[in-house]
Amino acid sequence: MDISRSRWVWLLQTASGVALVLLLSLHWIAQHYLASEGLRSFEDVAAYLNQPLALTLEIAFLIVVSLHAMLGIRAILLDLNLKPEYQRALDISLWFIGIVTVLYGIQLVWQITHL
């Protein structure tokens, strides 16, 4: 991998990590700190997700956490001295897993808010 690409990947991993500190804090405050006894009831979850700001926050959190997780797994696998010919397959696989994860989360939220 060329240096400029690895630098961009590192910047993306770093930026998503910093964003996660904020997004995870907001997620934790909304879902656990403000909830009675640490967890929301079904009605509370549905009411929370029906607010546009909360929905945006949770979807943004899901996208950023999936990106950060996939980049982290990639870094670990590359450090295990994966053969260069497998790196493209790894990148495609991780993109696929990340996109499926985000779509799964969006579909879950859609179902909850439409039950």
């Binding site: 590192w10 770093t14 990590g17 910093v18 996660l20 500190v21 995870l24 006894e37 640490g38 967890l39 929301r40 009831s41 079904f42 009605e43 979850v45 956490v65 999936s66 997780a69 982290g72 797994i73 670990i76 450090d79 295990l80 001295n81 994860t101 799964y104 989360g105 879950l108 179902q111 909850i112 039950l115």
Partner: protein, 119 residues
């Protein structure tokens, strides 16, 4: 001969390697938790009764003990990640070892505070 992977080296006793290993192991644990969390949220699809009964199970002491492990994982990964960001941008390079021990101490202290708050 293939180059030996170096990121998980139990023989190494340096602060840098300890920080590196802890960051990777907590990262792997948090990815596993992310998928467990998404899988468990499936209970919401089954409606109010299934979810509210699941929430009661999640409030049991044994699950709360696992929450403490999760909290420590999040804290050490997040705090050490911020340390790595500073170092990556060439800031506080001379203090990186001290900063790691500070992050570890903060993670332990905040986990203990979290456990106290959960009870």
């Amino acid at each position: 001969m293939e180059k030996k992977s170096y990121w998980f080296d139990l023989q190494s006793r340096t602060t840098g390697m300890l920080a590196f290993m802890l960051h990777r192991l907590s990262g792997i644990g948090l990815v596993a938790y992310l998928y467990l969390h998404l899988f468990l949220l499936n209970k919401l699809r089954q409606g109010p009764e299934a979810w509210d009964s699941f929430v009661q199970t999640m409030r049991s002491p044994s699950v709360m003990a696992l929450d403490a492990v999760l909290l420590f994982g999040i804290l050490i990964h997040g705090l050490n990640g911020l340390r790595l960001t500073l170092i990556g941008f060439g800031t506080l390079l001379r203090w990186q070892r001290v900063l790691f021990w500070f992050c570890l101490t903060m993670a332990v202290a905040l986990t203990l505070l979290g456990v106290l708050a959960m009870h």
